[in-house]
């Protein structure tokens, strides 16, 4: 962000005015969640007695992306353990 401000020259970018609405929405959500706790649930992935064997598996290079503006893979769900994907039977 600082890079951009410097590159823009003398004046700050106009999108800085979005800070007001963004801050208002963030405040609303933070307070609402603190009171209603709608996002909470039992963390059974962590709070259950689990004995896991060694993780096995492999990887194989299948493609190369030579130029993209995205800093991470599309639809990264490696830490969204509860997001279900196609079930193999």
């Amino acid at each position: 962000m600082i890079d951009v401000v410097v590159m823009a020259g003398d004046s700050a970018p106009v999108w800085i005015l979005a800070a007001g609405p963004a801050g208002a929405a963030a405040t609303y959500w933070a307070l609402y969640r603190y009171y209603r706790n709608t996002d909470k649930s039992h963390a059974y992935e962590r709070d259950t007695i689990i004995e896991a064997q060694q993780v096995t598996g492999g990887q194989e290079k299948v493609d190369h992306v030579s130029r993209t503006r995205k800093s991470s893979i599309d639809g990264d769900n490696s830490s969204k353990h509860r997001q279900r994907v196609q079930r193999l039977r």
Binding site: T48, R67, R69, R89
Partner: protein
Amino acid sequence: MTQDAQPPRDPDAPVFDGPPLSLEEELAAARAEPEPGPDIDTVNAELADGINRCPKCGSTDVQLRASTGMLVCLFCRHQWQEDRVEEEFGLGVGIEELDGTVIAGGAGTIAADVADQVTLTCGGCGAEVVVDTAHAMNARCHWCRHTLNINQQTPNGAVPDAVLPFRLTHAEAVERIREFASKRRLFAHPRFKKEFVPENVLGVYLPYLVIDARAETTYVGKGEVQTRRWTEKSGDNTVTYYAADVYQVQRSVGLTVDDLTIEGAADRRDFDGSTTNNIINTILPFDTKNAVKWNSSYLVGFTSEKRDLDVDDLHPVMEEQLLSIGRSQVEGSLGQFDRGVRWEAEQVDVGGSRWVSMYLPVWLYSYYQENTQTLHYIAVNARTGETMGSVPVSQWRLITAALTVGTFLEGIAGAILVATA
């Protein structure tokens, strides 16, 4: 009974007993074994329906003393407890060897035609007393004041395999609920604040199925490794670009879980946005290892909710939770994929599972918000003391706070713009 003992059949009488069976089906029917009993028999053989007497003085005024977790006779103050099911039924061992679905006696299929009401004949005076097992497992005889108990497993899902007694007292629960709500006063709905009476908290035994399972999980997806990062000028700005190698990733992990706990009542398992059931879910886990053999005297003075979900209903839920657990286990092996991994397919193979039904203790404060028709809970885990709740909010106060912060930030942004113009 032999063939000869049957009465001779009238040859003219119409006979129809369903479509003819194939030879294989007839052979299978002929070899049929008698109906099997439960995989784990958890009936407390020392107790029958009716009167639970103090082993020392014979009084029936028996209830749980939460501070010690033991049953106490209110007449002679004798204290005792039931055995832990963990050792009694061998629930903590052999998870690696589980094969197929093992169901304890109290977690069996609920029969649709069994009524919730059970009529007991009072052993003290002979009066008929009705116990509504949907909400309670005891009743007092209104004639002689003996306490009558439901101890035998009935196929209506009301009697579980085990019970985890309350440990937190009413006063401790009230204190925790008050503390939870007092941290959330400023933006709480004024009517909630006015009507807040934490002393009204109710002790409830809620039905759960506690599962040990052995499973193998497999995941397939794509992972990316960054190979290059550079910036290019675009007008006045610079833009960052990336190059990456894409990998087909596969991971498998075998795991066992001990005492995975799932709600056994459909009303509590409903987690859509219109309920606050997630609150009750959040106060899990319980120390289910300390659950004891069923004795309905533990429920005297508390209400209970009947189980209405079967193992078959909850098997998909268990599979989903095992998949999530497996995903969390393999996450640590993905470090090389610095641009992340997108799982696209997953598989769980449940080698074996063991299902035990339990009543677990919850202090529950509920508040019905009329204007939104929402039932808010503040729940306290009556073993660990973990407290979670949903407090109704005053929307206009929340919006005022949000607008204030927004206006303040907008002022700063405006000042920066003016200063740098």
